[in-house]
């Protein structure tokens, strides 16, 4: 058993069956989960998220459902690739979500011990480099998992040049197709313990192991039973892809959010899925947070647009027939998702460079704090004008007063604002000129001695940062499929 743990038998790890055998051997106990179900655990919900709750899921498991068979981790928000593009421009060995390295160093020893696999999109713009970095980092610790890398989503040169409008084509910094579950399924079939992709539909990270384990029809799915299973799988993925948002984090309401216990030790959601697609959403025992009808509903409808047609590369999900049954004890049963055939076209998401911003937040204190901010703003406006600093907009908001809800936040009148202990104003310059953005911070320091009295702090002179616009398009599936590759490292 110890030898297996140190030296995974790659030639044994080709099927789900041998995986389960190894799992039973390596964990020194028979699997506590029923053989006809697969348990998925949420990894990260974005680049920068915490992996402690994923580790807790591996270590603690669930009293009734056991430990996870897969951890699936989403590292890519819509514009994360814009950040990764800058990394890659500096160093061709970068361009991936680098938190995957410390995350796997923390998780993999436990994952290997219990036979759990890892699927993530942390490859970003450079899945190859991510795979090699993970391989090297784990090898240093004596681990040699089978690592698969999925590429082919990056279509900046081959396709976007044909599709993108002239006005933004030369400013595009990335363009990637949302791939589906197929290449991940292929990677698992090749025996991968760790699958690293670039852009794939977030929920496909979770659908893929279900398709693999249960041998569900994917590209051949036509009948309602096959499509509804995929729809269930996508629903499960969507409920888990945002980590803590599926278990009581960011639960938006008045008062009741306080009843969610121990957010400091939140357990990310786990899904126990049967071969017919029926799923229980739960979380690891002894963790904080809450999985119930309300917390899951908030995640289910998060960023889905038309709930009767949530379009993914693998199936079009209709949520209007979905049923969430609160079983109590942090368990919710998910049934009734309806699927329609996958679209003929895939979505391309691109980002284009769209100018710069520079921002600074400055505070003035009592007395007359409000009026002092107004005078300081005028001092900045005057300089922008008199120095002919090119800009499109000087955006102004007052953190602590109206930054979150704009004009919908009722502001007290000036007399009351002048009695406030302090007022902070946030000024953001939007400009096409990088040098104008770089120079913005230098308009401020003299205000400390030559402006209104009792300055009470400012946020530092920010460097300019680049703004990005979002470009989306549809591309025929058959144009993309030949580019997709699954490679074992």
């Amino acid at each position: 058993v110890t030898a297996y743990a140190r030296n995974p038998l790659k030639h044994f790890s080709n099927t789900a069956l041998t995986l389960r055998v190894m799992q039973a051997l390596e964990s020194n106990q028979p699997p506590t989960h029923p053989r006809d179900s697969v348990t998925l655990a949420a990894g990260l919900g974005f680049y920068g998220d915490s992996w402690q709750p994923a580790l807790a899921a591996l270590e603690r498991g669930h009293a009734q459902y056991g430990r996870p068979h897969y951890v699936c981790s989403d590292h890519l928000a819509e514009l994360t690739l814009a950040i990764l593009q800058k990394d890659r421009a500096k160093d061709s060995a970068l361009g991936y979500a680098r938190d995957v390295l410390p995350m796997l160093l923390a998780l993999w020893p436990k994952m290997q011990e219990i036979g759990c696999k890892f699927i993530c999109n942390a490859g970003g713009l450079n899945p190859q480099a991510a795979g090699r970095a993970v391989q090297a980092a784990l090898a240093k610790k004596g681990f040699h998992p089978a690592i698969a890398v999925v590429t082919g989503d990056d279509v900046l040169s081959p396709i976007s040049t044909l599709l993108a409008p002239d006005s933004i084509r030369s400013d595009l910094v990335f363009a990637n197709v949302y791939l589906g579950a197929k290449p991940i399924v292929d990677a698992l079939a090749k025996g991968a313990d760790i699958v690293i992709t670039g852009r794939v539909a977030d929920a496909a990270l979770f659908l893929a192991p279900l398709v693999f384990e249960f041998a569900w029809s994917l590209e051949q799915a036509r009948d309602s039973q096959a499509l509804n299973r995929l729809a269930q799988g996508i629903t499960v993925g969507h409920l888990l892809e945002c980590s803590g948002q599926g278990s009581g984090g960011n639960f938006g309401c008045r008062a009741d959010w306080r009843d969610i216990p121990d957010l400091a030790h939140i357990g990310y959601p786990m899904a126990v899925v049967k071969a017919d697609g029926e799923a229980i959403i739960t979380k690891a025992q002894g963790t904080g947070g809450r999985v119930n009808f309300d917390t899951l509903r908030q995640q289910l409808l998060y960023e889905v647009h038309d709930p009767s047609a949530y379009i993914t590369p693998d199936v079009v999900l209709d949520m209007t027939s979905l049923k969430l049954e609160d079983l109590g004890d942090d368990q919710v049963r998910v049934t009734g998702a309806t699927g329609r055939a996958a679209p003929a076209q895939l979505k391309v998401l691109g980002g284009y460079s769209d100018g710069f911003k520079a921002e600074l937040t400055w505070g003035f204190s009592w007395p007359d704090a409000w009026d002092k901010t107004q005078v300081a703003i005028e001092m900045i406006r005057t300089q922008l004008l008199e120095r002919h600093i090119p800009h499109e907009q000087l955006f102004i908001e007052y953190p602590g007063l109206n930054a979150a809800h704009g004009a919908l936040a009722p502001l007290p009148d000036a007399a009351e604002l002048n009695e406030r202990n302090e007022i902070y104003v946030r000024m953001v310059l939007k400009t096409r000129s990088k040098s104008a953005a770089d120079a913005f911070g230098r308009l401020f320091p003299w205000i400390a001695l030559s402006g209104p009295a009792y300055t009470c702090g400012f946020s530092g002179l920010h460097h300019a940062s680049e703004l990005f616009g979002v470009w989306t398009a549809l591309v025929d599936r058959h144009q993309v499929t030949p580019l997709v590759k699954v490679e074992m490292l």
Partner: protein, 136 residues
């Protein structure tokens, strides 16, 4: 003394707000802000079905998101009912100054905009008020 810009309209006949009967989450998708709005119970869902129309949501957000200084075009609001989840899906297009990576607001991802939705003033009949679970 410079008075702050007063674009919040007090509506004294609407004594309640969505926060009294519902919970919500919001997020960004390109330049769209995307809300889930949830009744706590069936009686609350019936009230939401009456008061949460696309036009009512548009009017609520217009002073902020459609003001000339926001630089955004006219608000485009869609509302989908989900009786199976006692919920409504709401999408407002052109709401995020072009999207999260060009939005100059501190809340560039629109995560706090669900709170702005829950500020929406609503009316409740006496019968509705006694039927809906109290979240006041």
């Amino acid at each position: 003394v410079t008075e702050p810009e007063k674009s919040f309209v007090q509506t004294p006949n609407l004594k309640f707000r969505l926060v009294d009967i519902a919970h919500a989450r919001s997020g960004d998708k390109g330049d769209w802000v995307d809300f889930g709005l949830f009744a706590w119970d069936a009686a609350g869902y019936a009230v939401l079905a009456r008061v949460v129309t696309a036009e009512a949501v548009r009017q609520h957000f217009a002073p902020w998101l459609a003001s000339p200084s926001s630089g955004a075009p006219a608000l485009d609001v869609t509302v989908w009912p989900l009786p199976n989840l006692l919920a409504f899906k709401i999408v407002i297009k052109n709401a995020l100054q072009g999207g999260a990576a060009s939005n100059l607001r501190q809340d560039n991802l629109g995560k706090a905009m669900a709170g702005a939705l829950l500020r929406m003033p609503i009316s409740l009949t006496d019968a509705e008020r006694s039927a809906v679970r109290a979240h006041e």
